[in-house]
Symmetry: C2
Subunit: 225 residues, 2 copies
DNA sequence: GCAAAAGTGTTTGGGATACACCCATGC
DNA sequence: GCATGGGTGTATCCCAAACACTTTTGC
């Protein structure tokens, strides 16, 4: 097939699954659609990717505009997820969506075009398009990433307690872990070190605070859980 | 941004990294370009994805036409790899490429538009576009897949010897494995069973032939190497 | 002193690794 | 009988999993 003659490209979209931890575990950012199709339904923040912009650039701009979230400052870990391309996924016509997955913590949302909110992945509303599938896929990918990389750092503050760290893993994995085994194993990976600070909260012993040695993504020497 | 006003989509391409085992280890399918850009250079089989066709459909058709390889019959394992989208990757203009990785064995190539051949990944010619990066990425992904799935089956015949199986792993991993440990570990995964056939070849003891219990993709209970 | 979360060790079983010789065949 | 690749077992170490009590604080 030659370009130019009668080649027509499908629409190119980008969509983002942005995770953070909240009171009810892992949450994902959604926006309420105000136009058809799926007007009134919640959806992943996303939109058109025009020629001349990379998918990351388009994503950055769209998520800021539509959901009021600035990925470059508030979402330290972002990776491309998968490209969804079934013909029928958008009732307006063939649209290929390059999806991304990102993680952050206490992500601030500015004023935006659409109403935006974080929903616990365990209590998602009805979703537009195939966005439910995309979230499920992103969740499983995040769980996998936590087992063989230091990606958790993006879900935690700079200084964190071992309990917070364990809670992050439990929220993503959806199951409880043994405290003693978790600490022994994680500390043996040499990814984090103690600080001289402690965290006091409530009527109980204060917790030591830890820091990651590096905030760049690394593969673990042996996989975790 | 609204569709319709002045939205123009980038060109959508698909490209395939098709692996098989050959005399010099892991090989990948390339086609020789006969037109600019990169005329005369080797490239991955790929081409335009027009509206109305999924990327798999487009891939299927393009690889058959340009390289003479019928994916549906000769490439039992195919998965989507990554979407490459840097603006400058195609000198003709912004083209987003959805790439796929596939594995087969003794893949027949029919007559095709372009000259097509398998090259050992250790001896690749100069490649067009960013196709060298794509192959490197596909190779690392394949190695990872072999550690946690039964995907090797796609590189082997229906009946195979344990030596063939080990050789397949060694070719993909690029290093040698211990024979006794390999056999003990692989057999303990319960993915394969002995047949009553044997393989005679050369002046030495004949080898037992094995079969996979299932040819559908499965995740291993514990990861391999 | 009591409630609440932080912190800490030992035992046991199984898989990972390292390693060398005998077996069945063709010529 | 000899060359060639097929086939096999053991000892050691480390990691994974299971499991319960003491410590430090606020009130």
């Amino acid at each position: 097939m030659q370009h130019g003659s009668q080649y027509i490209a499908p629409t190119l979209n980008v969509d983002a699954v942005i995770f953070q931890l909240g009171g009810k575990g892992l949450e994902t950012l959604l926006v309420k659609r105000s136009t058809d199709p799926f007007s009134g339904k919640w959806a992943l923040p996303g939109g058109y990717n025009a020629v001349g912009h990379t998918t990351s650039e388009a994503l950055q701009k769209i998520v800021l505009t539509k959901a009021g979230v600035d990925i470059s400052s508030a979402v330290p870990y972002v990776e491309q997820l998968y490209t969804f391309d079934t013909i029928a996924r958008d009732p307006r016509g063939h649209a290929v969506s390059v999806t991304y997955m990102g993680c952050g913590r206490e992500i601030p949302t500015q004023k935006s075009l659409d109403e935006a909110a974080f929903f616990p992945v365990s209590e998602l509303p009805q979703l537009a398009f195939d966005h439910g599938d995309i979230i499920t896929y992103a969740h499983s990918r995040l769980a996998a990433k936590l087992t063989y990389t230091n990606a958790v750092h993006a879900l935690l503050p700079q200084d964190f307690t071992l309990t917070q760290l364990q809670t992050a893993y439990e929220a993503v994995f959806g199951r409880e872990l043994d405290k003693r085994n978790f600490r022994k194993k994680f500390l043996s990976l040499n990814l984090i070190h103690e600080t001289d600070k402690t965290w006091r909260e409530g009527a109980h012993r204060p917790a030591k605070l830890y820091e990651f040695n590096s905030h760049t993504l690394e593969s673990l020497s042996r996989s975790f859980d």
